[in-house]
Subunit: 383 residues, 2 copies
Amino acid sequence: MDRVAIIGASMTQFGQRDAWIRELLAEAGQAALADADVSPDEIEHLYVSNMASGEFEGQTGVPNALAHDLAAMPAYTARIDQTSSSGGAGVYAAWQSVASGASDMTMLVGGEKMTHRSTAEATDVIASLTHPVEYKHGVTLPSFAGLTARLYLDTYDAPRESLGKVAVKNHKNGVDNPHAQFRKEVDLDTVMDSPIVADPLRLYDFCPITDGSAALVFCPESVAREYTDDYAVISGIGGATDTHVVHERADPTTMGGVVNSSEIAYEMADLEPDDIEVAELHDMFTILEFLQSEDLGFFEKGEGWKAVEEGVTDRDGDLPINTSGGLKSKGHPLGASGVAQVYEIYKQLIGDAGERQVDADVGLACNVGGFGNCVTTTIMESR
Amino acid sequence: MDRVAIIGASMTQFGQRDAWIRELLAEAGQAALADADVSPDEIEHLYVSNMASGEFEGQTGVPNALAHDLAAMPAYTARIDQTSSSGGAGVYAAWQSVASGASDMTMLVGGEKMTHRSTAEATDVIASLTHPVEYKHGVTLPSFAGLTARLYLDTYDAPRESLGKVAVKNHKNGVDNPHAQFRKEVDLDTVMDSPIVADPLRLYDFCPITDGSAALVFCPESVAREYTDDYAVISGIGGATDTHVVHERADPTTMGGVVNSSEIAYEMADLEPDDIEVAELHDMFTILEFLQSEDLGFFEKGEGWKAVEEGVTDRDGDLPINTSGGLKSKGHPLGASGVAQVYEIYKQLIGDAGERQVDADVGLACNVGGFGNCVTTTIMESR
């Protein structure tokens, strides 16, 4: 079977944007069309990854509006929502649309407009994904993260500083990402002295609230060759769920959705964790980078923290993680994040990552919804 | 290529339900698993068609919750939203998941919980799909329907009573649908004397606000044969958009999304409109049944109304339309409606439609979002 290729990509400036969701989506969509040198009337399927434009902005039907705004009608459109992993789910939908033969040219645009709402309001919209009983008891995603971080540090005898070093690393990477929300280095003291949010996690262990969008153009590899020599292929992709009620998990330091989705992706790609040369992980909270790096098989259980301490996941390490700056410094516009992860891997694989460039032919993106409730893992290879 | 088969289906009682969206989805999901004789752990992909659980109920992440509630974890899940045609978009997503080889057993559950909100509130949530400028001028879907109905009646010299006869026919069909919200016949006088909502349309020209859900189980035809002799196949499916701003359409009596999506579906199925023997159309407003029956090629432009007058679309006519009772009498729980349309065609094709049974081997479902903003057309055949 023809593999599914990505032939163009874009991401907008992430941060506090003076633009509504429709404008953000159109901005990324137009840029990706230009990058791929594809005209809007070539688009057959147009997917939008977005969690909550209705809740944030009172505007639904945004995929239809985007088809209109991009002059891509009568392209088929739908919105793909998987809460904070809507972007990864959109990548899977776009992959399926091409792999099934339904579309020979698919665009995915992921985006979210959040900063016009207060942090409390935005957090409350996100918290609506949790189980109502847990939600009413205040066990929101940040508090789960705090509880899990405490458990991880205790269980694996990891120093609190190792979490801080994730923030330091990702902020350092973000300096070289022109689209990142925060382009400034932070030192470990700053992280360790920042206000406590959910003990033991502090302000710098959390990603910000962000506006932004990102887009990708997919087609069969046979079609890709007609457009460009600079394409990457998706060689493995899989998705999986874990319990909705987080307290039902046997071991909260293991993310079942990451384990199961990556198993599917590795098998499809016929690759092992050791084959991955660059990865974008969903560091909504610093602790999540440890959990994913272990559950993806990069490191033994309980040893992800050592990799950060030893510089293995630095940009010049053996397995660079979050060269983009991650959600931590790049920002986390819910529906855009999973798309922007694949944007980064695509740029790395085609050798167009600028100052962030690493030497890699195989990359992986892991997009996590909720507290690992639903996960999509995508493995990509240079052509 | 292996065709995509449907091997099981369910729909819940439609109407005013004392159950939240999670319960409604689980009810349909469990019933479809039982109908298909498939165990939850066989489900690889689980899609949820739903427009607005966040806006209606403050609960997002419902696909993940459903995977949990059905004990279908770690099945991959995502929510598919295409506003009022989320169900049809879900059918397309489920089809793609099987046709792409990503899943050998996919469940789709569509549902919406609406009646706990006032009609004004519910209508406002739906209206959030329209263009903000049109919305702020009060040009909501019902008013578009009124304007379009007036234009249609004037242009094609159709009597106002012909619209009323759509309501009479669909109510009559709904009497034999045990899941329908309204199981009562109405006569033409009742329809014609009902209160005006958007001139010339009256109360009985509109579908109600509804709670409910429906579910389908999809797999490759080769797998279907291992489970049952009573399956149907999707032989053609396509989707398309029309302008988001309705006033930009050259002719509001033509639904471009219906024309374009059905063209794709007919070509894929290698069938003509004349080959269709039973159809479920999206009669959110009576006028839409005329427009779709013409834009799908069943009747010449401007002659759909004659077919209703002449009984062609009655259950015992040449081309029965909305044997289920349609949205008009069955009800319209947004995310469920497109799934319930395919449920009806499936039941007709496997000969399990009870009192509603017609003689058909080829059926079509047309699910419309907004005022034709986005449309999915599905053609099915008995095995």
